[in-house]
């Protein structure tokens, strides 16, 4: 460099114009590569048709007290349980601060008899048992995930096992007394 015949402006630290050009070109290369890679990465995210999956309406009138149905929304099972008075009572009686994911039963329902949640274990995504009559419901009378043994209570809250969170409540609203729209 010192032999360079072209005279170059040099400040005290020995930095010169060429260092600046290297940095600027390098930075442009990084930005340019990033701008090219991002569309590739992002193409793997949910596509517009997948995102466009409409919301669904569910008629609850046929579900007897104590029964439950499973509907599919965005490819996921949604559990809808018509809870008995005893189940509601049980869910309300639990002191909230004893829960590992503290949530009161009131926060999880719009109308106490109807519990609506996404039926996917918050551990690693299995479908917990407890929807059908005769299926094992776990130690807290709600749901039991057979994959690694998570127990959920009658409010769908995690009580025992490796799952970290309660079964999530999807966005939904009551259109009539016995019709809801999920999504």
């Amino acid at each position: 460099m010192a032999e360079s015949t072209v005279e170059r402006t040099q400040d005290d630290e020995g930095e010169d114009r060429r260092d600046f050009l290297y940095l600027a070109a390098g930075a442009m290369a990084v930005v340019g590569t990033g701008a090219f890679v991002w569309p590739l990465v992002d193409s793997m995210n949910p596509a517009a048709d997948v995102l466009a999956l409409a919301s669904i309406e569910v008629d609850l009138s046929a579900i007897e007290e104590g029964q439950a149905i499973t509907v599919t929304w965005r490819g996921k099972p949604v559990f809808i349980r018509h809870r008995t008075a005893a189940e509601i009572e049980e869910a309300r009686a639990v002191p909230v601060d004893e829960l590992s994911d503290p949530e009161s039963d009131d926060e999880r329902v719009q109308q106490p008899e109807w519990l609506v949640m996404i039926g996917i274990c918050t551990h690693l995504g299995c479908i917990p048992k407890g929807q059908k009559a005769g299926e094992i419901k776990g130690e807290y009378g709600g749901w039991f995930c057979p994959c690694h043994g998570s127990h959920y209570d009658t409010s769908g809250r995690i009580r025992k096992g490796p799952a970290p969170l309660n079964l999530p409540v999807p966005p939904y609203e009551f259109l009539e007394d016995t019709t809801i729209r999920i999504g």
């Binding site: 596509a47 997948v50 057979p146 490796p162 799952a163």
Partner: protein, 432 residues
């Protein structure tokens, strides 16, 4: 390579422009001198290479018949089994071939652990091997999803959900992996694309692995360096023939499974088409993932209030392989072979048993009991031991243990005509 061959004018014409014949000769021919004392434990490297080739060939033939779509995948595999000429053979070879690929590679790895093949100057060789293991796991996992049975679907769901344990960005990563909000057609499609790609990436890494191998040559059962030509024999014909014999045995055992027990290593639930609304009561991964699955499930407690159980399990599961990367620096003993390391040898066997226990626990249901202890408890102890072996026992033993005297060369006992690896004349191996 015989001189006659190299004098052929066509061969010489090619050799002058592309020295491929001398390259082959220096890789697996008479031009590659190998230690003269290699035992049958040294067969498993070349066997793994053959297994990879079998997987690629049967895989490409299957790919010509397979349809990667959630509505057709299961049926296209059944069609391969029933209608495609010899389709059952292709699929059974591919499915059982995957299992045998893992058996061979696991033996290959434990060979390295016993004889200290990961030590200088072979650290990079070892690291490349661990990279191959990781790539194999990813490939086998995605291949298992392709038939789109119940086990395929739920394996895909559980394994991709592991990434949701990552704080903050976990959920976005999982959605990105799926290309949707659950394991679905986009997931199957990309798994198929990657399942086709990764074996060729493995092939490339294997190439570099062998390149690194040939820089310093094979380790050997004594773990001492070769001192000169008297310690070596040409790879061809001595080890080519030995490898071929081993290959024959391997193919007999593989055939026994393919023809007489093709579904023994599989799981019957995978003959039920995938149903996103119902998880089978007992899901287990393929046998070769069981020890890692046991480690994952062992963590059912939050760690120090900052690492939730789910994240802890995932960290330990990946950590159980990551620790292999730093093994060359955890083991400070300059003596390679466990033959001359009485204490390490015992811990080696305990470690092997520990891995088997983890495998057995991985196959059992999480809430069961064995010998009056809960399976989770046994898994926790075995997981603890797994990491203690690498992080505590190996560093301690390697500094405290007094190794047995090393023979001064590979050929000495042979050429002196008897087992005189006399301790008196032995000098400790120079720091490698």
């Amino acid at each position: 390579m015989s001189n006659g061959f190299m004098e052929n004018s066509v061969v010489r014409w090619i050799e002058h422009r592309l020295p491929i014949f001398s390259f082959i000769d220096h890789s697996v021919g008479s031009g590659y001198p190998a230690p003269r004392n290699l035992s049958y434990w040294w067969n498993f490297g070349s066997l793994a290479g053959v297994a990879l080739v079998i997987m690629i060939i049967t895989g490409i033939m299957l790919a010509m018949q397979y349809t990667p779509h959630v509505d057709y995948a299961f049926d296209s595999v059944e069609r391969i089994m029933r209608d495609v000429n010899h389709g059952w053979l292709l699929r059974y070879l591919h499915a059982n071939g995957a299992s045998f690929f893992f058996i061979v590679v696991y033996i290959h790895i434990f060979r390295g652990l016993y004889y200290g093949s990961y030590k200088a100057p072979r650290e990079l060789l070892w690291i490349l091997g661990v990279v191959i293991l990781l790539l194999m796991m990813a490939t086998a996992f995605m291949g298992y999803v392709l038939p789109w049975g119940q086990m395929s679907f739920w394996a895909a769901t559980v394994i991709t959900n592991l990434f949701s344990a990552i704080p903050l960005i976990g959920e976005s990563i999982v959605t990105w992996l799926w290309g949707g909000f659950s394991v679905d057609n986009p997931t199957l499609n990309r798994f198929y694309a990657l399942h086709y790609l990764l074996p060729f990436v493995i092939f490339a890494v294997v190439f570099v692995h062998i390149w690194a191998l040939h820089v310093h040559g094979s380790n050997n059962p004594l773990g001492i360096d070769t001192k000169g030509p008297q310690d070596k024999i040409p790879f061809h014909p001595y080890y080519t023939v030995k490898d071929l014999f081993g290959l024959g045995v391997f193919l007999i055992v593989l055939s026994a499974f393919v023809f007489f027990a093709p579904n023994y290593l599989g799981h019957p639930d995978n003959y039920i088409p995938a149903n996103p609304l119902s998880t089978p009561p007992h899901i287990v991964p393929e046998w070769y993932f069981l020890p890692f699955y046991a480690i994952l499930r062992a963590v059912d407690f939050d760690f120090l209030w900052i690492v939730p159980a789910k994240l802890g399990g995932v960290i330990l599961m990946f950590g159980s392989i990551m620790v292999l990367f730093i093994l060359p620096w955890l083991d400070r003993s300059p003596v390679r072979s466990a033959k001359f390391r009485p204490i390490y040898r015992q811990f080696f066997y305990i470690f092997a048993i520990d891995c088997v226990i983890l495998g057995i626990m991985g196959a059992k249901s999480a809430d069961g009991n064995t010998f009056g202890m809960t399976n989770v408890f046994i898994s926790q102890v075995a997981t603890f031991y797994y990491f203690a072996h690498f992080l505590v026992i190996i560093p301690l033993v390697s500094t405290l243990e007094r190794p047995k005297p090393l023979p001064s060369s590979i050929s000495e006992p042979v050429l002196k005509g008897g087992g005189s690896m006399a301790g008196a004349t032995a000098k400790p191996m120079e720091k490698a």
